[in-house]
Symmetry: C2
Subunit: 248 residues, 2 copies
């Protein structure tokens, strides 16, 4: 029977700019009595990637535009955080009912362009990694150099979604894993071809990882073991193209 | 370290109307060498629930409306399937670019009202269970009567979503589990209160289960072991209310 294990990695120190994430993760694995195996997938919250890559913006240097100032005033928010969210956006998707949903340079559609003040140092805010696929690839390479083992790496963030309450972890950067699993060539139990059956495997792995991670950074990494998720997808494969998007 | 196991249950027979799902699941568990433990969550694809509850509609009895006929003709679809999807809807959310997105009587927003011809008997289509929370509760009670063990039960379906490619498993019926995990009273690593941090735990469990399930019904049930997901939520807690929905 298919069997999968999810292990949350605690024991990582507070991550500083320039930190060697591969070493920190391998050390936490070792302390927990684990070693990487081929086919393991590591899900890493983008927050520690952003921190290691120095994606912390000092709020003091941000001069809010009139739009940012008015929106922040109406909602009782810090106008500098709104300004940063607008600067990280390429398109405003919705700006209503207290919610600012944007499209980022990566093509991600999410609240506040992924800008996050929680878990950043006081006076700073975290932005998303500049190139999450690149971050995932560098981490995967560093893990391979240190261990000789091929793993998959997923950089995750928690996004809201239309129609349903609650945040879900999604994959914003990938290395060595499949983004999608296409069942369309296969058949149902009556032998008929399956239609409309492309599963978002990388997002499902990210969502699963959230069950052993914690929002407060005490468990920023999850090890997913036992699946067959190898591939060479890039995260943009998970983004719906504008021409087939009914919710622009 | 937090640790979670996911086990896909194979070996269930083709489910017929009136089938005793609890017995079938317990028998498949036994054959796989597993027994239920307190706190286990069973994720069950709605398809076998719909089948057991007789939610199979004969297509021959459906007389397509002019709207259903025109939409089906434009897309080369079976007009009776479109008719059934419209009859299962309370509201059309989008009908464009070949996609029919509706709101069902349950308040679920999904393609074709969840109507599915794959995995139904030829000439029939499956509809969603009438009361998925009720289905989950009855299964949970039957499992408890048979084993004395309290488990959680999640009835799942795979839905598409805006902005991102690929289907994801979501929770459409719940018993004995929490829908949402609210982190808002907790603090980040700098001691500041976390905001906007309500996680869709039941949907994350459903998404995780998909990693060991298969679309073709050979593995229609997953056992999720090792979490602490007990609760008494009902699935509508996962539905965003109209007044805070920006994507009606």
């Amino acid at each position: 029977m298919p069997h999968l294990e999810l292990i949350g990695l605690s024991g990582l120190p507070e991550v500083e700019a320039g930190a060697d994430l591969a070493s920190l993760i391998l050390s936490a694995l070792r302390d927990g009595g684990h070693a990487l195996s081929p086919g393991d997938v590591l899900v890493v919250t983008h927050k520690i990637v952003s921190k290691a890559e120095g994606c912390e913006v000092p709020l003091a240097g941000l001069d809010p535009s009139p739009l940012a100032a008015r929106w922040a005033e109406r909602l009782g928010k810090d106008p500098r955080l709104v300004e940063l969210a607008l600067r990280q956006a390429v398109r405003i998707v919705r700006m209503d009912k207290g919610v600012l949903i944007t499209e980022t340079r990566h093509g991600l559609v999410c609240a506040n362009s992924g800008v996050d003040a929680s878990n950043a140092r006081p006076g700073y805010a975290l932005t998303l990694p500049v190139d999450p696929d690149g971050s995932a690839h560098r981490l995967r390479e560093a893990l391979r150099r240190a261990t000789g083992v091929d793993t998959g790496v997923i950089i995750s963030d928690t996004f809201g979604r239309p129609w349903r309450e609650g945040l879900m972890n999604v994959a914003i950067g990938l290395a060595g894993v499949r983004a999608l699993e296409d069942y369309r060539g296969r058949h149902d139990t009556f032998g008929r071809p399956l239609v409309a059956s492309v599963l978002a495997v990388a997002d499902a792995i990210a969502a699963a990882a959230e069950l052993v991670m914690r929002k407060n950074l005490r468990i920023p990494v999850a090890l997913v073991r036992g699946g067959r998720f190898e591939g060479d997808s890039r995260a943009p494969e998970l983004l719906r193209r504008a021409e087939s998007d009914l919710f622009r």
